[in-house]
């Protein structure tokens, strides 16, 4: 009896399996941006453009690897990544198509790829986060280079495996040269910097008292604060022009293999529209990449941030392989 039911169920599963392919969508997006953040935006995108959009949500890195394996046969049209590094890698491997000038022109030159294959869709800042219980604002280091001082031994948390952190290291290499960067990485390790797998655990560790300073992206704290006003962590920037104040982007590009490039361009245009940009800053706590968006009052104003930031051209942040080699050399990866 049970056996028969089991066999019937088995058969059903097998039969139902291939039937899952429905009528084709107009555009397929591979999104490394979390569904929890961008799903409402996708709904709006479909409404505004009238396109039927299917999204494959995943990890930015896994999607980039999947795209490489799929190659010319990829079902994807648009790749939306959490960080510029993944876009630059795919661009270097020749998987991304050049975008039309009209799209590129919407975004400032330093927030898009040098080859014109990807644009930033929202900005995120590297910040200095600190425990409000154990650190007084006047004690805070003025430069990311001060973190190697004996005073901070064992008190700093970072995320060497994280793409945003690696972009920051690349920026440091461009700005200060390889020698100084490697020396800094080594000194940090020497000084007992604690390595977390990503940003969220850095903030939790700050609250828990495991570390006193951390180097995360800016928006995670805002989410912790939204859930708990008393969360005992604050964040700030380093002194003006310090490389620790990098402005980074999440961005998107269109696959060379796409047969629906026009539709994909319309999607990308929507992501750069004032409506979408407003959503990024108001709901996702990120920075808009176009002008004319009402700032989120809980964020440091973009203008001020850009004044604070070291002048680094994100389009040139293509030095990922060399950065990784350096991180390995420093014993961090």
């Amino acid at each position: 009896m049970h056996l028969r039911i089991g066999l019937v169920l088995l058969l059903l599963v097998l039969l139902a399996a291939p039937g899952a392919v429905a009528a084709g969508p107009d555009v397929v997006i591979y999104s490394g941006r979390s569904k929890s953040l961008v799903a409402p935006l996708i709904v709006q995108l479909q409404r505004e453009t009238g396109l039927k959009v299917e999204v494959r949500y995943g990890k930015t890195a896994a999607l980039a690897l999947t795209l490489q394996e799929e190659g010319a046969r990829s079902p994807a049209d648009l790749y939306w990544a959490q960080d510029a590094g993944a876009l630059a890698t795919l661009s270097r491997k020749g998987l991304l198509a050049r975008l039309p000038e009209a799209l590129l022109a919407r975004v400032p030159a330093e927030l898009r790829g040098a080859q014109g294959t990807w644009v930033g869709t929202s900005g995120r800042a590297r910040v200095l986060a600190y425990s409000t219980r154990r650190i007084k604002p006047e004690e805070l280091p003025k430069s990311v280079f001060d973190l190697t001082a004996p005073k901070w031994k064992g008190r700093v948390g970072w995320a060497p495996m994280n793409a945003s952190f690696q972009a920051f290291v690349t920026a440091m290499r461009i700005h200060h040269g390889d020698e100084k960067t490697l020396a800094w990485l080594r000194a940090m390790k020497e000084n007992g910097a604690k390595a977390y797998p990503k940003n969220t655990p850095i903030l939790q560790a700050l609250a828990a008292g495991e570390i006193d300073l951390g180097l995360p992206n800016h928006y995670y704290l805002l989410r912790f604060k939204a859930a708990d006003k008393n969360f005992p962590v604050a964040q700030t920037t380093f002194a003006k022009g310090d490389i620790g104040n990098l402005l980074n982007v999440a961005g998107a590009g269109i696959l060379k293999s796409s047969k629906r490039k026009e539709a994909a361009q319309r999607c990308l245009a929507f992501l750069l529209s004032p409506k979408a940009q407003q959503y990024f800053t108001s709901s996702v706590f990120e920075y808009p990449v176009i002008e004319g968006v009402i700032p989120n009052p809980s964020l440091l104003p973009l203008r001020q941030l850009r004044e604070q930031a070291a002048p680094v051209d994100l389009g040139k942040l293509d030095g990922l392989p060399a950065t990784l080699k350096m991180l390995r050399e420093a014993g961090l990866l």
Binding site: L3, G6, L9, L10, V13, A17, P18, A20, V21, P25, S34, K35, S36, L37, A39, E54, V55, R56, Y57, K59, A61, A62, L65, T66, Q68, E69, E70, R73, P75, G85, T89, M161, A163, Q166, K194, A195, Y196, P197, T200, P201, L203, Q204, A205, A207, A208, G209, E210, R223, A226, A227, D228, F231, P232, L320, P321, L324, L327, R328, G331, L333
Partner: protein, 519 residues
């Protein structure tokens, strides 16, 4: 035999293709590596440090889970302890909580600002490093051992123990000389899963800031977005898993014939606990409290905190639930179904092919999930483009990957099945299906149930393969947990995580309740 061999041959071929394909893919990718660069990457001090860390952690987790699982399995099968069925279900369910969620739970309990400090006013230990990783992984993986040992204990023939006791052996001597040797296959099956899990784990160790070899694999794949050297390092992990499989097979060999006693097992007498009553209850309640009740409580606290609880209701909760249950049910039926004929033929057969057939289901579990997923992308896009991004491919992938979870309990059950019994049934005129239904089935049912439970738990929380291989727009409870956790939205992640535990609980309860009908 030949007339009955075709299901085994067919399953053997499918399994070999399923496991061999990804290994071939890894070899293809790794061959693209530049020798000098490969040497730089592999032959540095760090690789050996990480290898040492992996071995050390594996040993610690195995020791810890043995200390938990052995008494727990014995208490819930052989004693007069009340609530044995409930405790069985509770002792299984820690496997339903995704590893990284469990790590986040423990991280959020300790420290200055942890739940311990908030609720109890006490600063609790915040696990990290080697001890943190060993602690969390032990609580997470001991059910592998527990379920295998339980299936083993239930199949023991009490007559042997009674005979030994009648010969004048004391209780401990009976254990050491009669029970433990018979439990060896079950123990090794569970231990193998625990160790393979530790080798493959990245989520827990990375959150505990302890680096193992899998950290090296992930840093190639995730940080460098590099398929070539990622594959090379993945092969190192596969080799480590293969080595473990060979060693495990050596320990097993020679024990098999000893383990084969006549079937028709009668239930063992329930041992009275006597003065061990209180400690026994404390242990039997304490383990699920620590491994299950505590994490679930934390999840509930997360859910009630934060402002975004309404988001989850508006989301695709029902759809995700259905998708998760559908996939997990399919895999829980398929994985044991495909593993069984293979093991059956291997245990009855002789020679290297039989030995290989018995080992190969485990190898799918030894391939790092990221590499496994990319392999299936590579293979299906090139060879079978029609199945790429279909539900069928996802179910097939999970089936191959989780055969290892089914193999242990099935193997334990098969050891207890004397060929003479089937032959007797056959000589009395039973057909193949009839033998299966009336003779083999009832004797194997407990093993099959344990196998299905393990596979269901693994599938319902599975994340990396689902993310890479699922059809477009297909989301599960596990992908929802991940998408919220990733953005530090723990309040929104919690209901999905609780739903996973709930669904798993229902499934395992159903299996445990069914046991009596068969036994």
């Amino acid at each position: 035999m030949p007339a009955r061999a075709w299901p085994a041959v067919l399953c053997g071929l499918l399994v070999t293709l399923g496991v061999g394909g990804p290994v071939v893919y890894l070899l293809i990718r790794a061959l693209g590596a530049d020798a000098g660069q490969a040497a730089d990457l592999l032959l540095r001090k760090r690789t050996f440090v990480l290898l040492g860390n992996t071995v050390l952690l594996g040993a610690a987790v195995l020791l810890g889970s043995t200390l938990l699982a052995f008494p727990y399995a014995w208490l819930t099968t052989r004693t007069e302890l009340r609530g044995r069925k409930l405790l069985t279900v509770l002792g299984t369910l820690p496997l339903a909580i995704p590893g990284y969620v469990l790590a986040f739970v423990w991280l959020s309990l300790g420290g200055d600002y942890g739940l311990g400090a908030h609720v109890l006013g006490v600063r609790l230990w915040r696990p990290s490093g080697f001890w943190g990783a060993a602690f969390v992984l032990t609580l997470y993986t001991f059910p592998y051992l527990f379920l295998n040992l339980r299936a083993g204990l239930q199949r023991l023939d009490p007559a042997l123990e009674e005979a030994a006791a009648a010969q004048g052996l004391g209780r401990w001597a009976v254990w050491r000389r009669v029970v433990l040797p018979q439990l060896r296959p079950a123990y090794l099956a569970g231990a193998l899963l625990v160790l393979l899990h530790v080798i493959a784990d990245f989520a827990v160790v990375s959150l505990m800031r302890y680096e193992t070899l899998s950290s090296a694999v992930y840093s190639q794949y995730v940080a460098a977005l590099d398929r070539t050297y990622g594959a090379l390092l993945a092969l190192v992990l596969v080799a480590l898993a293969a080595l473990l499989l060979v060693v495990d097979a050596r320990w097993l060999r020679g024990r098999l014939s000893e383990a084969l006693t006549l079937g028709g097992v009668r239930r063992a007498r329930n041992v009275p606990l006597g003065r061990w009553r209180e400690p026994a209850y404390a242990f039997a309640v304490g383990v699920p409290l620590l491994a299950l009740a505590l994490p679930v409580t934390v999840l509930v606290v997360w859910m009630t905190r934060g402002t975004g609880a309404s988001m989850m209701v508006s989301g695709s909760f029902g759809g995700a639930l259905l998708n998760s249950v559908g996939v997990a049910l399919g895999v829980a039926l398929l994985a044991p179904a495909i593993t069984f004929p293979l093991l059956y033929a291997s245990l009855r057969g002789r020679g290297w092919l039989a030995r290989l057939g018995e080992r190969i289901p485990y190898l799918g579990f030894g391939i790092p999930p990221m590499a496994f997923g990319l392999a299936l992308v590579f293979l299906s896009v090139r060879l079978l483009p029609g199945v790429y991004q279909t539900l069928g491919l996802l179910v097939a992938a999970l089936t191959i990957r989780f055969m290892a979870e089914a193999a242990g309990p099935l193997r334990s059950a098969l050891y207890r099945l004397p060929p003479a019994l089937e032959e007797a049934a056959r000589s009395l005129g039973c057909g193949t299906l009839s033998v299966l239904r009336r003779v083999t089935g009832p004797l194997l049912w407990r093993g099959v149930a344990a196998a299905m439970a393990l596979v269901f738990l693994a599938s319902v929380k599975e994340l990396p393969l689902t993310l890479i291989l699922a059809p477009l727009g297909f989301d599960t409870l596990a992908t929802n947990v991940w998408t919220y956790t990733e953005e530090a939205l723990f309040a929104q992640a919690a209901p999905y995580a609780l739903a996973i535990v709930g669904v798993a609980g229902l499934f395992v309860t159903g299996l445990v309740l069914k046991e009596d009908k068969w036994a």
